[in-house]
């Protein structure tokens, strides 16, 4: 990446004032990246950003409350930071945000689906258009656009919306078009039994690992999640699909009007359940009723976290 050096220089400059800067670095094989916690000068060189920088690092921020934290964010990650700021779960003075123009990240599930098991990955070469993966002595070539995450295809905020230091050139100041939720609309056209059947089928393979919850930057209840509590006792620990579905519904409700659709829940899911769709549905409703999009303006109050005597678009008197 062109601006990687510029980014490293600005981190180097800021690091003395910070406890930690969170970015990405290489992982167990060349096809994967992993979150990288920069505490010392020598950690900086390992920093790598690019299409493999899939993780939303904002997830770590509430846990580091009280520390001086630097964070490298993509456009979508920056919206999570904004949402955390809105909800006063992090303090603006404590964080330093490094933004860059993101050109999209890959979806590992799509690569896995395209290539199947290819053995040990020896190298991975990413250009603007293509991905060339060498594994077990054999080269595999893929179109980058075929393996980009879904959210990147319809990305409306490629640049960090909020940042203290922005490296590289902004990809444009254009006012983003409203989200269209096309795929969701197709799903919604199905009959109720079909939709319910879909979820029962998908969630049947859920192993209740709660990776979706752990990856979510806005799941902030820490060890007080309703999923494992007896007081209140919303969910049983029985192995049945209804309790699994119930958890996803609770998750979606807790995120209504807060979720920025970063897609970490779905990305983290080891059994590829399309759980993001539930949150998109809630966001679509919030957008239609409250004309609100989460994670855009740090000064806004999410509509469900305020009390109004009369809502503009809910006319209870006509019910």
């Amino acid at each position: 990446m062109k601006f990687q050096k510029e980014l490293k220089d600005s981190i180097r400059k800021a690091l003395p004032e910070l406890d930690v800067v969170i970015g990405w670095c290489g992982s167990f094989d060349p096809l994967h990246a992993t979150p990288h916690f920069i505490r010392r000068e020598e950690d900086i060189e390992k920093l790598e950003i690019g299409p493999l920088s899939v993780h939303n690092l904002a997830t770590y921020l509430p846990g580091l409350r009280g520390k001086k934290v630097g964070i490298v964010v993509k456009g979508c990650d920056s919206r999570s930071v904004i949402e955390l700021l809105q909800e006063k779960l992090i303090a603006r003075d404590d964080i330093t945000i490094f933004g860059f123009p993101c050109t999209g990240v890959v979806d590992q599930a799509k690569i896995k689906k395209a290539l199947g098991y290819v053995g040990n990955v020896e190298s991975c070469d990413m250009s603007d258009k293509s991905v060339v993966i060498v594994a077990a002595g054999k080269a595999h070539s893929l179109e980058l656009s075929d393996v980009l995450a879904d959210k990147c295809h319809s990305c409306r905020y490629p640049d960090a919306i909020i940042s203290d230091i922005f490296v590289g050139d902004k990809s444009g100041e254009a006012v983003p078009a409203p989200a269209d939720y096309e795929a969701l609309a197709t799903f919604e056209n199905l009959s109720l039994p079909d939709r319910f059947g879909f979820w029962l089928k998908e969630l049947d393979r859920c192993i209740r690992c709660y990776a979706c919850r752990s990856a979510c930057p806005l799941c902030v209840c820490r060890d007080h999640c309703a999923a494992e509590s007896r007081e209140p006792h919303w969910l049983s620990q029985e192995n049945n699909v209804r309790d699994k579905l119930m958890f996803q519904v609770i998750h979606a409700y807790h995120l209504a009007g807060r979720c920025t659709e970063c897609g970490e829940c779905q990305r983290a899911c080891p059994v590829d359940i399309p759980v993001l769709m539930l949150k998109q549905k809630m966001n679509k409703e919030i957008r239609d009723i409250f004309k609100y999009e989460a994670g855009v303006d740090p000064e806004e109050t999410p509509p469900l976290l305020s009390f109004k005597m009369e809502e503009e678009n809910i006319t209870e008197k006509d019910w």
């Binding site: 006063k88 902030v220 209840c221 007080h224 007081e231 209140p232 919303w234 305020s306 005597m309």
Partner: protein
């Protein structure tokens, strides 16, 4: 917990469509239930005694009564279980009357549904905890909002009962609608002669603080401890020194100001005192018409005022009053009759409202008590009264009967004959509603002694004919068309909720009906209470009312306040939210959503936590549905209690 279940017949109210014995039999099989029976009237003394005996005999830890709505008898039964030595919150009610027997006829289905409701109640009861109310001291002052006859009565009764009263009136004088009336039915005594002394009493009573030309800006707090922010609107006259001499009003050159007191029959001055008996008798400048305030030129009133109290720089002022109870007596407004195209929609000057006519009849009114047509000032000969203008008419969204128009129309017909013996009055009516003491006799008198021509039917059209108005209508008793050449048409305009009633209701946290009238606690048994503790209603704000009823309600509200203040301390309702400090992560979402400001952030060993102020919490539960980790729970409706009810109902 050993549970006892009592299934009430409610005479035949429930028993007719629910097999109560079968419900009791089914309840005996529920976990925890050791005793179940059906009783004729559980709320009666023998019914309650049966509960007390069962608690003692079977050593019950909680009681379920399946009967009517908790709004009706929850308090009754809570006292019953308390009498037997249980905590009163170890009681649950299943509503099998309003929710079952009254709404369905299928006995089997009703019985099954009743069993379900009783099962839910027992499951919830099993998770009930004993709750204990806290005591708090109260401020024995009362706020009365609105200085019409109902508010005056409430204020005087409270003040005579020894309470300090704060009376807030929107206009510059108290008196309300009654002060505008010439005479009152059915005695035809002078309105200002009977109201005037009461108004003077208000002004002179040592216990009453009057804020005229003021409005309620903000209401905080709860029963016993309200904090009221009152906005004293700028009058541009220093009322401390104004003597009400009226010289300013005489000399003011701006003569086209809106005369709201006289219902805009004529005009008044830009600085004015609305009428001679005004309380307080103080002048006020209308900034919309004062040339000094608009253009900075004039200043005549400041020059002539002998006590130098004109202040063109005056600003709105805010005062805070602390009170323990509030009486709302905000009255009514008149329906805007101009929606009726058939009556001219406001185009004909000689079609006026009944209240305008009333001002015309009044000796202190703009015509000095002479009946004159607004168009040419001539005395009318034929006067047509049209009743039910904006009453009992679904097409204009006013299906209700205003109730007092029949009476004042009869009165106005009588007064017309008194003023103009050669005149002839016609009244177009739908039905005569004269149900008060001496009321029907009064309307008969208008017909028989005063020769008023009552025509049963609606007017279809009014249109000008020369200098007269042709009123065309139906006479449904004769089955004919009627045409009357009228010199003056008086519309008996109905009452509607006063402008701003809904805004005040929101500040008071009371509810109002679809017409904007305030909702009483119970239509029969709690006519002056609201569902907000410490807030009472008086007069037409609760629904159209004539003077005797308004006065009666004013006194009733005062007696409720005096009853409330007979104790030095009140008990707070323990059915409020509470924070489980272990689960709370201090995100403050509950603080943001609480409509009552009942939750504050506290510091607990260096961590932010939420804390509920019990006396302010109303138990609405918005916080409990906001908190993602379930750390805040309503004490008498926890998530687990609701879930157990759901599980009792949806057994899959």
């Amino acid at each position: 917990m050993k549970i006892g279940v009592f299934v009430c017949h409610c005479g035949s109210n429930i028993e007719a469509t629910v097999d109560t014995a079968a419900v009791a039999a089914a309840a005996r099989e529920f976990p925890g239930v050791v005793f179940a029976t059906d009783t004729m009237y559980t709320c009666s003394e023998p019914g309650q005694d049966e509960i007390v005996e069962a608690i003692k005999e079977h050593n019950l830890g909680g009681v379920v009564v399946a009967s009517c709505t908790p709004r009706m008898h929850e308090q009754t039964f809570r006292r019953t279980v308390e009498r037997a030595g249980l905590n009163k919150y170890l009681f649950e009610m299943a509503n099998i009357r309003e929710h079952v027997s009254w709404i369905g006829k299928d006995r089997e289905a009703n019985t099954n549904k009743s069993v379900d409701l009783v099962r839910m109640a027992t499951e919830k009861l099993m998770r009930n905890r004993a709750l204990h109310p806290k005591k708090f001291t109260i401020n024995k002052r009362v706020l009365v909002i609105g200085g019409g006859v109902a508010g005056i009565q409430a204020a005087l009764d409270c003040a005579d009962g020894g309470l300090e009263v704060v009376l807030v009136e929107k206009t510059t004088t108290i008196g309300g609608k009654m002060a505008k009336l010439d005479k009152t039915f059915p005695t035809v005594d002078c309105s200002s002669c009977i109201l005037g002394p009461r108004m003077v009493d208000v002004a002179q009573h040592p216990n009453i603080t009057l804020y005229a030309y003021a409005e309620i800006e903000e209401i905080n707090g709860y029963v016993g401890n309200f904090e009221i922010k009152v906005k004293k609107k700028a009058t541009y006259v220093d009322w401390k020194n104004c003597t009400g001499c009226g010289i300013c009003m005489d000399k003011c050159p701006s003569k086209k100001a809106r005369d709201t007191f006289n219902e805009e029959i004529g005009f008044t001055k830009a600085i004015n005192i609305p009428f001679p008996q005004a309380i307080p008798k103080k002048a006020k400048i209308d900034p919309e018409f004062c040339t000094m305030l608009k253009k900075g030129k004039c200043g005549v009133c400041a020059k002539v005022c002998p006590s130098g109290c004109i202040d063109y720089e005056m600003k709105d002022e805010f005062v805070t009053e602390k009170v323990g109870a509030i009486v709302t007596a905000t009255g009514f407004d008149l329906f805007d009759w101009t929606v009726y195209g058939e009556y001219g929609g406001g185009r004909y000057p000689d079609v006026i409202t009944s209240l305008q006519y009333e001002r015309m009849l009044s000796a202190s009114g703009p015509t000095g008590g002479h009946i004159k047509r607004p168009s040419d000032g001539k005395e009318p000969k034929n006067v047509v009264f049209i009743q039910c203008v904006g009453s009992r008419d679904k097409s204009v969204g006013r299906p209700y009967c205003t109730g007092f128009c029949c009476m004042y129309t009869a009165k106005q017909a009588i007064l017309t004959k008194d003023h103009l013996p050669l005149s002839q009055s016609y009244v177009f009516y739908m039905d005569i509603r004269a149900t008060g003491k001496l009321y029907d006799e009064f309307t008969r008198r208008a017909m028989e002694e005063y020769d008023t021509n009552y025509i049963r039917g609606r007017v279809s059209m009014i249109y000008p004919k020369g200098d007269k108005l042709l009123v065309r209508g139906a006479d449904t008793l004769m089955g004919t068309q009627v045409e009357v050449d009228a010199d003056l048409v008086v519309l008996a305009v109905g009452a509607e909720a006063s402008a701003g009633a809904s805004g005040l209701a929101e500040k008071l946290r009371i509810s109002y009906d679809s017409y904007g009238f305030y909702m009483e606690g119970h239509p029969k048994l709690k006519p002056v209470e609201t569902n907000t503790a410490g807030v009472y209603l008086a007069g037409a704000c609760q629904g159209p009312k004539d003077i005797p009823s308004s006065v009666a309600q004013g006194s009733a509200a005062a007696s409720k306040v005096l009853g409330l203040f007979s104790k030095d301390q009140l008990e707070s309702d323990p059915q409020v939210s509470m924070v489980d400090i272990k689960r709370c992560i201090g995100c403050g979402k509950c603080i943001q959503t609480c409509p009552f400001g009942a939750i504050k952030e506290i510091d607990f060993r260096g961590m932010a936590k939420a804390d509920v102020i019990e006396t302010i919490c109303q138990g609405c539960g918005i916080c409990t549905s906001t908190c993602p980790q379930g750390a805040i729970q309503l004490q008498h409706a926890t998530d687990n209690q609701i879930l157990s009810e759901v599980n009792a109902l949806c057994q899959f």
